[in-house]
Amino acid sequence: MADLSFDQTQQSKFGKTTLRIILYVLLTLFALYYLLPLFVMVTTSLKSLEEIRTGSLIALPREITFDAWKIAWASACTGIQCEGLRPYFWNSVLLAVPAVLLSTLLGALNGYVVAQWRFRGANLIFSLMLFGCFIPFQVVLLPMARLLGLMGIAGTIPGLIFVHVIYGIGFTTLFFRNYYVTIPSELVKAAKVDGANFLRIFWSIFLPLSIPIIVVTVIWQFTQIWNDFLFGVSFSQAGTQPVTVALNNIVNSTTGVKEYNVDMAAAIIAALPTLLVYVVAGKYFIRGLTAGSVKG
C-alpha cells in the first residue's frame, strides 16, 4: 500500500513538472507573438533602407541609424506638406488635454448627481446617456459635419475638442456614477445636516475621495482621444490633423520611394504617449478597460 502511494506521488510529480514546462513554453510563445510587431517596428526604424531591402525582417540592425526617426519627426511628407509628425503631434496634445479635462470634469459632476442626488427621471437620463456610449459614431458623422460648419468651427481644433467632449460624456459619467454609488448616501445626509450645500459636498467630500477614479477616467479618455482616427479624419483639415491621421498619411502616401523605416519610426512616435501611460499607470488603464464592461 505504502509503496503504491509513493509511486503515485512520484508519477504525479513528474506529470506536474512536464505540465508546468509546457505551460511556460506556451506562455512564452504567446509573449513572442505579442512582442513581435513591437520588436519589428523598433528594429526596422533603426535600419537603413538598404539594409531593409537586403536583410531579414526579424534580424537586428547591423548598423543603428536614427535618420528615420529624424525624418519621421521633422521632414516626412503627409501629403503636400513635408514637416514630419511634429506639428500633428502637438495638434494631438492641444486637442487631447482640454478634451480630457473637460469631459472628466463633466463626468464627475454628472456621476455625482446621478449617484447621490437622485431625482425623478435621473435614472432615465442616465440610461439615455449610457446608450450614447454604444452608438456607432458613423450615425452622427454627417449631421456633426454640418453643425461644425454652421458653428464656424469646422476643421479646427476647438471643433474636434467639442466633438470629443460631447461623445466622451457617456463614458465619463458611467465611470464616476459607478464609483459614487458605492459611497453610502448617509454621507451626503450628514453633510447636509451640517449645513453643507450641493457644491461644497462635491468639492470638499467627494472630490478628495475620487482620486483613483479620476486617474482611471483621465487615462481612459486620453487613450481614446489620442488614438482616435474617425473624428480626426472626418473633422480636420490640412494643418489641424491629429497625429493618427498624419501617420496614416505618411504611411499611405503613394509618392516617392517607400521608406519603411520612416513609417515605423512615425508609428512608434504616434504610439509613445499612450504606451508611456500604459507602462507608468497600467493598473489604472486596466481598471478603466474593465470598468465599462464588468458589472460595477
Binding site: N123, M144, A145, N197, N227, S234, L247, M264, L275
Partner: protein
Amino acid sequence: MEFPMSEWLENHLPKIVLAPSFIAVLVFVYGFIGWTAWVSLTRSKLLPKYEIKGFIQYEKLFASPRWDTAFENLFVFGALFIIIAMVVGLLLAIMLDQQIRTEGLIRTIYLYPMALSMIVTGTAWKWILNPGLGLEATIKGWGYNDFSFDWIVNSEMAIYTIVLAAVWQSSGFVMALFLAGLRSVDGEIIKAAQVDGIPTWRIYTAIIIPSMAPIFLSAFIVLSHLAIKSFDLVIALTGGGPGYSTDLPATYMYAMAFSRGDIGQAASSAMIMMLVVFTIVVPYLYSELRTKNDG
C-alpha cells in the same frame, strides 16, 4: 426675498448641473440619429434633401455589390474575431491563473497592444505582412522557397489579415476580463472540489467557467462593438483593398460620406450599422440596468 431664491437654486442645482450634458446627449446623439434616419429616406446626394421618398436608399444599398461585400465581411470578420479573441483570451487567462511567478510581466506584455491606436497596429502588421520584404521573404530566406504568405495582397484572403491584427490587439484585453472573472470565483467551492479529488480540468469546465457567464456576455458585447466600429484598422492595414475586398460597413459609410459625396448612401449604411448594434446591445443594456436598479 433672497433666501427663497437661493433655496430654490440649491434644490434644483443637481438638475441644473445635469441639464447641459443631458441636452447635449439629446441633441447630439438622439437628434443626430434622427437626422441621419430622416436623410436616409430621401434622395440626398451631394447635399441633404429633406423630402421623404421611402426606402430607395436602402434598396440601392443592398443592390450594390460593394455594400454586399462590406456587409458580408462584417459577419465573417466579426464572427472570427470574436470567437478567436475569446478562445485565446480564455486560454491565456486560465494559463496565467496557475500561480505563474512572472504573471505581472506577462500580463503587461499581453495587454499593451490595447494601448495602441489601430492606425499604429495596422501600420505594423502591414509591414510584417508585406510579401516582398516581410515575414514571407524572411521565411523564404531561411530556405523554404515554396513558402507563401501573401494574404494582404490576395483579395480572397485579405479579410483574414484584419482578423489577425484585430485579435492581436484585443485578445489581451479579453484575457484581463476573464482573469478578473477567474479570480472572483468563490475560493471555498474550489477548495472543496480539490479536497474531493476532482481533477483540475473538471473544476474549470464544470464549476469555474459556467460561473463566469456574465463575463462571457460582457466580452462578447465589447468585442462585437469593436468589430462593428472597426474602421481605422482597415484603413491603415489594407485601405479596404485589394479592390474593395476588405471593405466593412464603416469604411463604406466613410467613402460615401467624404469621398463619393453620396449622403443618402452614407446615411442609410450608417443606419444599418446602428441597427446591428441595436440588436446586440439593447437587450444587454436593458438587463444590465434592470438588475442594477433591483440591487
